[in-house]
């Protein structure tokens, strides 16, 4: 079962994935001249969703923004790995939700924010509205020695990256040395996490095949509204918690229904993460933080 990580897998991740974990440990300022940096990942805010799984549907994203703004050391940049908004068939309402989402996150102190779509944002119109608000659905950028690649596996409702984007990916990778520090950002798992719940990318294996020759690759994604850590060969895949409702562990129950809101533990299972790049060691330290903690 790929839903949890046991000690053996943890050690495997430590040794091969170039990833270490910390829980709530403080992070100090970086030494002058150091290339180490950190960024924040937020995911699956599903702005516009309403229902019992989150009685504070209109407040949770704002709390997360406030929490990030309260971090003592601000991140170099922030990424949103998809499902910024909750899907609607109404094109006007889709624009309204994206407008409101954009307004809320404009309060982030850090102004370098990288967005990716989820299927809720992009699949109804193949990303047309999303692009008007947030730009390209796949792109690259470089930051302090790390090559970031955002892959779109959601604009096609069939959850395919598609041959054209795969060619683009191959061409981009061809320009990178085999020991480049590569971070992939995407929405859905590129590997078959649990296809029985549609937790996969139909042609994700083709992207992994293209990435496999590179020695230092790590993938951060969303979609499943919970942490999950998995290795495909030497490539680590790390999903993030969401900001609307948590989902059950893969295959842990018959249906992938949201985990019910627990009034005794509000916002439980929701959160965001800091990802600290320690480049000389090709490591990324992940620190999970709850919605209300900055």
């Amino acid at each position: 079962m790929a839903n949890s990580i046991d000690r053996r897998e943890f050690l495997k991740l430590m040794g091969l994935g170039g990833v270490v974990f910390a829980s709530g440990l403080g992070r100090g300022a970086y030494a002058a001249g150091s290339d180490d940096f950190y960024f924040v990942q937020l995911s699956d805010s599903h702005w516009g969703f309403e229902g019992p799984p989150n009685p504070d549907a209109k407040g949770t994203l704002k709390k997360a923004v406030a929490a990030v703004n309260a971090l003592s050391v601000q991140p170099d940049f922030i990424v949103f790995t998809g499902d910024l908004t909750h899907v609607t068939d109404d094109a006007k309402q889709r624009e309204q939700r994206m407008t409101e989402f954009r307004d809320i996150v404009s309060a982030l102190k850090v102004k370098e924010v990288r967005f990716m779509p989820g299927e809720h944002d992009a699949a109804p119109d193949w990303g047309t509205t999303y692009k008007q608000f947030f730009g390209d659905t796949h792109y690259t950028f470089d930051h302090k020695g790390v090559h970031f690649i955002a892959i779109d596996n959601v604009s096609d409702p069939a959850a395919q990256i598609g041959d054209e984007q795969l060619k683009w990916l191959a061409a981009d990778l061809a320009k990178q040395p085999k020991d480049a520090n590569i971070v992939v950002l995407t929405h859905r798992p590129l590997f078959d996490l649990y296809p029985q719940w549609d937790w996969a990318t139909r042609d994700g294996a083709k992207a992994i095949d293209l990435l496999m020759p590179y020695q230092n690759v790590t993938v951060f994604y969303g979609h499943i509204h919970q942490e999950n850590h998995h290795m495909t060969g030497h490539i680590g895949h790390h999903s993030a918690k969401g900001l609307m409702f948590p989902l059950p562990a893969p295959g842990s129950q018959p249906k992938r229904l949201p985990v019910p809101w627990d009034a005794a533990h509000p916002y439980q299972g929701l959160g965001y993460r800091e990802i600290e790049a320690e480049l000389p060691k090709h490591e990324y330290k992940i620190t999970e933080l709850p919605v209300g903690q900055g």
Binding site: D89, V154, P157, A158, P195, W197, K255
Partner: protein, 121 residues
Amino acid sequence: MAIELNRRRFVAGLAVLGAGALGLRATAQPAPQVIRIVAKRFVFTPSEVHLKKGVATVLELTSADVPMGFSAPDFKVRADVLPGTISRVTVTPEKAGTFGFVCDVFCGSGHEDMQGTIVVT
């Protein structure tokens, strides 16, 4: 649906008769069971399908509204499910149990609820 099913049985019957006329009755295969599943936002009907271990079954899939998908990963079958078209996949279960199937083409706000089960006895 009934007309089409009857026609298929008629054709299958002709095939068996023809084989019998050639003295090949012992090698003729029975027509596989056929189950039709209709997808409609955001349910499959039926959402529970009963199959027999080792018995081939053809699943006929169609959509009553928007394009969808049918994926039963445990049986390594999937198909696009489109309005006005019947897609067919053949499943021959090798073991008993309960297995999930899912819509794998994002179809709207209830997409995540669009699941069903195949029960094999």
